[in-house]
Amino acid sequence: MARKPETDAVSGVATTGHEWDGIRELDNPMPSWWLYTFYACIAFALVWVLFYPSLPFVRGLLGNTARGDLAAVMAAEQAKAAPMLARLRTATPEAIAAEPGLRAFALAGGRIAFANSCAGCHGAGGQGAPGGFPSLADDDWIYGGSLEEIRTTIRHGVRNGEAAEARGTAMPAFLQAGLTMGQIGELADHVLSLPGTGPANAAGAALFAENCAACHGDRGEGNRQVGAPRLDDRIWLYGGDKASVMRSIAYSRAGVMPAWESRLDAAMINMLTVYVHALGGGER
């Protein structure tokens, strides 16, 4: 329907024909420069699209692509970080931790590397996860909490079958090794009494001395050399209830961690080492 032109009686200006509660909108002309500004913007957009087409597989007139621009920025950032990374690559974690500037850089870089490579299993803050993903934020270290031990663990991983120096020895599955479920229950009672959280079990203690003490120690103090966890503390990697402990004894547990040496740069591993060490407050 064509609009019927209508003129406002007072101002003599045409109205838009719209009416709200008796109020009509005047259709005052815009200044023409406004229109030209609009045309200029269109012209600018047309020129812009020649230089930045934003189309797949199409380059701009000067060869610009958004991806290429990003690559240039990334290269510049990497060049900026290169001297620091070169030092981090060759320095020992102890030397890094001792020098405030290097340490701050390593902590910042380690935080990113941790989120990229480690947080999937160990959690965003290194808090671990039930079912065999150890917390890195506590004071319990299965293979040792010094900078050097942490670095070794990161480099070679745990029971991964790819690195000869990987951590971890296999614990026997004692149900197969000849213990009965009744004996395993007694053993579990003894294990749970080690941190002082359960009643003593004499039969279990005898079984423990015979089967477990070689690796886990007489009082369950653990052995970091073979990666036998402490049993006399309150931290249970696979759960601290009797059923979970029995399951661990009967069928054994064998957590796995990749060897990061073949996947990450040496500087990255050093940064991760310093970061993980700081997470739990570190061990000297």
């Binding site: 209508e6 002309p29 808090q127």
Partner: protein, 490 residues
């Protein structure tokens, strides 16, 4: 309503109006002198303030007014603001806005007419234009006439002068963001960003003050559109006293009012409007028409003030008092007698004043009570707490210690109201009493990671408030921050 519109099928009016060039004439008088004075003060401040020095000691900029974006600091004489104190700028903007409202409700568009940068620079550019191309009539004649060498040279000179002023304006702008003497000594050492903003402000000054002029006020600026809300019948606005001027016409006819229809008020108007048509959007309230009209009235030996700053209430009163009177001194006297002194203390003005005072006092208080040392505590929430091998519970906190002074220092950190909790800060030394000592450099922020541990017995509460407190060497508390210690669900 009678249908006064064009018949159906008639061509619509153009949607776009062609630009009508305005040739304002020079004028002398009281208002003009006031405008020159305001212009000199404002431009003087703008161009010279970056050159003021203020000694702040070694390693700190000695520019009195400096927005140091690179180091995220704002220097204003003795005040130094950090980014987290940006609310002072917010307060300043609120003060500016309320001040603008108050000034508008008292005196109409004084901001637009006297102090707005658009008006000030346009005024300066028009002055340059008149010096080079002559006054209104000369410019109209030259523009309408045939092209000539003289015209081209004058135009070139004008644009060169305009560009010079614009460049000085853009140059002064970037000096507020970095050291002015360094920039002037070595302009090519400036960053590309500096050059960009220099070019941007040069271009906007040149275009807005040279070409866009009144178009900015009429079409671009939102302020004229809503300032009507601040005006009322008691605001002093530039007004044509029609009760005295009408009917217009030659002074020889005694039946005519004081307005001789000489159009001097229209010729001097920088926005090209006719003030005799009443209050309108295009009027920026600069009052130059007052000077122009007074000049004419003096020559005619008639009283000044046919156009003047007047309230609409007085205008209505004068109009009513002179409704049935013939032009002449009697009508003039009756109109003047009907006027009342403008009511300055009106509820809206008082309210603006109260809000202004509250914001100003609050800002002043905040500025005076500002602490130079601040402690911020961010609890780590992934994980919320860690169980230790002895059954204890540990929380980690990120501490940020900001020292806004330039001295720096070492402060002891203690936990208040937290019996049984053990505090350890990673990577710092402890004093003889075993309290962590946090070092912080002056004008800097230091981050620390604090570990707070609750013993296994008694079991840690699910949630308890804790308070970190910083002590200086003498043991006096200098800063504190509250946080919360989380334990497992009971």
């Amino acid at each position: 309503m009678p249908d006064s519109g064009p018949p159906v099928g008639a061509p619509l009016a153009s949607l776009y109006a062609a630009h009508r060039k305005i040739y304002p004439r020079a004028v002398q008088g009281r208002v003009r002198r006031a405008k020159w004075a305001v212009l000199a003060v404002l431009l003087g401040l703008y161009y010279l303030v970056p050159w003021l020095r203020w000694d702040r000691g070694a390693g700190v900029p000695d520019q009195a007014v400096l927005v140091d974006l690179q180091h995220a600091r704002l220097f204003f004489f003795w005040i130094e603001l950090w980014p987290q104190e940006v609310y002072f700028l917010t307060g300043l903007l609120i003060l500016g806005a309320i001040g603008l409202f108050a000034a508008t409700s008292l005196f109409g568009r004084v901001w637009c007419g006297f102090a707005c940068p658009q008006t000030v620079w346009t005024d300066l550019f028009m002055w340059v234009e008149r010096r080079i191309e002559g006054d209104r009539n000369a410019r109209i004649r030259r523009d309408a006439g045939p092209p000539s060498r003289d015209r081209t040279l004058r135009r070139l000179a004008k644009h060169a002068a305009w560009l010079g002023i614009a460049a000085a304006t853009g140059g002064a702008w970037v000096m507020y963001f970095q050291d002015a003497p360094t920039l002037v000594r070595n302009p090519f050492g400036a960053s590309s960003q500096t050059w960009f903003f220099f070019a941007l402000f040069t271009a906007t000054t040149y275009v807005l003050a040279g070409f866009a002029r009144e178009q900015v006020c009429t079409y671009m600026c939102p302020w004229p559109r809503f300032q009507g809300a601040m005006l009322d019948a008691d605001s002093l606005v530039v007004t044509y006293r029609d009760w005295r001027g009408e009917p217009r016409g030659t002074p020889k006819d005694l039946g005519n009012g004081d307005c001789v229809d000489c159009s001097a008020c229209v010729q001097v108007c920088p926005t090209g409007i006719d003030i005799r048509e009443g209050q309108q959007l295009g009027c920026i309230g600069c009052g130059l028409c007052i000077d122009a009209c007074d000049d004419v009235m003096r020559k005619l030996h008639r009283p000044e003030g046919l156009i003047g700053f007047e309230t609409l209430a007085n205008l209505a009163a004068s109009t009513a008092a002179t409704a049935d009177m013939e032009p002449g001194p009697a009508r003039h006297a009756a109109g003047l007698a009907a006027r009342r002194p403008p009511r300055l203390l009106r509820p809206r003005v008082l309210m603006y004043a109260v809000v202004l005072a509250i914001v100003a006092i609050a800002m002043l208080g905040a500025l005076l009570l500002r602490e130079t040392l601040s402690l911020t505590v961010l609890p780590e929430r992934a994980p919320p707490f860690v169980r230790l091998s002895d059954g204890g519970i540990r929380n980690a906190y990120l501490l940020k210690l900001a020292d806004k002074s330039h001295e720096g220092g070492r402060y002891m950190l203690v936990l208040e109201e937290a019996p049984g909790l053990r505090l350890l800060v990673q990577d710092v030394a402890t004093d003889a009493a075993g309290r962590p000592v946090l070092p912080v450099q002056g004008d800097g922020v230091a981050s620390f990671r604090a570990l707070v541990t609750a013993p296994a017995v008694p079991p840690a509460a699910e949630r308890r408030p804790i308070r970190f407190r910083l002590l200086d060497a003498a043991g006096r508390p200098v800063a504190e921050a509250e946080s919360v210690f989380l334990g497992p669900q009971q």
